[in-house]
Structure formats: C-alpha cells, structure tokens
Symmetry: C2
Subunit: 129 residues, 2 copies
C-alpha cells in the first residue's frame, strides 16, 4: 500500500506544495508544530531514511538546504531546525522547522492550526522566496 506521502506525490491527496523536482517534494506539514513547518520527502518510497542510498540521502539533504534557506527568508525565526524521526509515517521525511528556542522543536508540543488560506499563503511565500 502506498504511504500517505506517496499519495501526495501521486496527486491523489492534496498538499500545500512549496518545491518539487523529479526526485523530491517539499510541502507544509499538515500537523505543524510551528508556522512554516515543512516536510521534504524523496519520491521513492523508503521507510527508514538511512535505507536510502547515500547519494539519494545527500541529494535529499541538498534539496532540503534550498528550502531551509527560503523558509528563513520569509518566516520570522532565529533559525531553521532539522529533524528526522520517521516513526509516524513509513516514508522517509525531513522536518524543517522555524525555531527560536529548543522547545520549539519538541514534537510533543500541541500542533498548531491554521486555516486553508493561511496554509496556502505560507506555502506561496516559501515558494516565491
């Protein structure tokens, strides 16, 4: 069965996309812990990130680098944090999270809720950064 991220890649489930090429996709986390919280995934469905070939892993990180720089340009924050846990969805993904302090990247924080318009606006800002 396809992961929810593969369904997003295939266009079967909508997402607030911020960047895409033939191998990687970045979109807003639908359960963000901060405004501007982005997920970056390889289109290849692999559960554990270190099961990606090393070159795919570093290319995923290179793609994420560009997104992190863009998020920082448009979301007011101290810096962009990076996290890979991979325990919720069995499809490798990199979290990019605007943070001001350590607690801002605590995944047990309550999720933030935004309207569809707010999500679309943030996605568009990052895309255009």
């Amino acid at each position: 069965m396809s992961s929810i991220f593969s369904k997003i890649v295939a266009g079967e489930i909508p997402a607030y996309k911020v960047a895409e090429n033939d191998r990687f996709l970045a979109f807003l986390d639908i359960f963000p812990i901060q405004r501007g919280h982005v997920l970056v995934v390889p289109k290849l469905e692999v559960d554990y990130i270190f099961d990606l070939k090393k070159s795919d892993y570093t290319d995923l990180m290179a793609f994420s680098y560009d997104i992190a720089v863009k998020i920082k340009k448009v979301i007011k924050c101290n810096r962009i944090g990076v996290a890979v846990l991979g325990l919720e969805v069995p499809h490798a993904h990199v979290h990019l999270i605007p943070i001001n302090n350590e607690r801002d990247m605590n995944f047990s924080n309550p999720k933030k809720t935004f309207t569809a318009e707010e999500m679309q606006e943030v996605a568009q800002m990052i895309k255009n950064a």
Copy 2:
C-alpha cells in the same frame, strides 16, 4: 573565541571520538539524551548550519550517514534520528540519536549519565562497527 567544539577539534578538550577526517569530526555528546548519542561537526567553525556552503552541508550529511549506519549496528534501537537545532553551542552540529519512539528525541528529556568507561566503550563500539 573558539567554540567548545573547535577546542575538541584542536585537541584542547578531550572527547569520545567515533570518526574523523580532515573536514569533519564525530564524537559522543557529553550530555546524551540516549546511549549512543553522537554529535557530528564540521571542523570549520560556523554557527548556523545553513550558513555552511551547500557542498559543505551535504558533505557533512554524507559523513553523518556513515556514522548513523554504524551506530544502528551496535546500539539496539528502532532507528537513528537526526536533529539540528544549534541553539546551545554556536558551532553547527548534527545530533544522531538512537530512538525507539518520538519521545526519545525530546531534548527536554533528562540527560543520561554514563561512566567514563561506559562512554569509552560505546565510542569504541561505534568506531569499530
């Protein structure tokens, strides 16, 4: 003033090293949140990780990939989590943390304490993996 990590790189402060080349160094976090918690740093002292050149960032991630694979071989865990926050020490560093669930990578968890012998043993196991 040199960061504490630059002092470790220079050999002025001891560390439980697990891997090193001319550009990167990996050693045990002295305040681990899990057993086998490793920090990977560029020898070049840069505060914010996304201020590294993109090629330095991806090379740091490639170096970290090899360490993550080694940690997973010798520390019993579900997977290796990756985190970059960078708010405590002004020298970019990648956390590699053995995790079984989301809470295991919560940085507000109490730090674990190990004896010098236990730290040395873990470092040696990862180094030899």
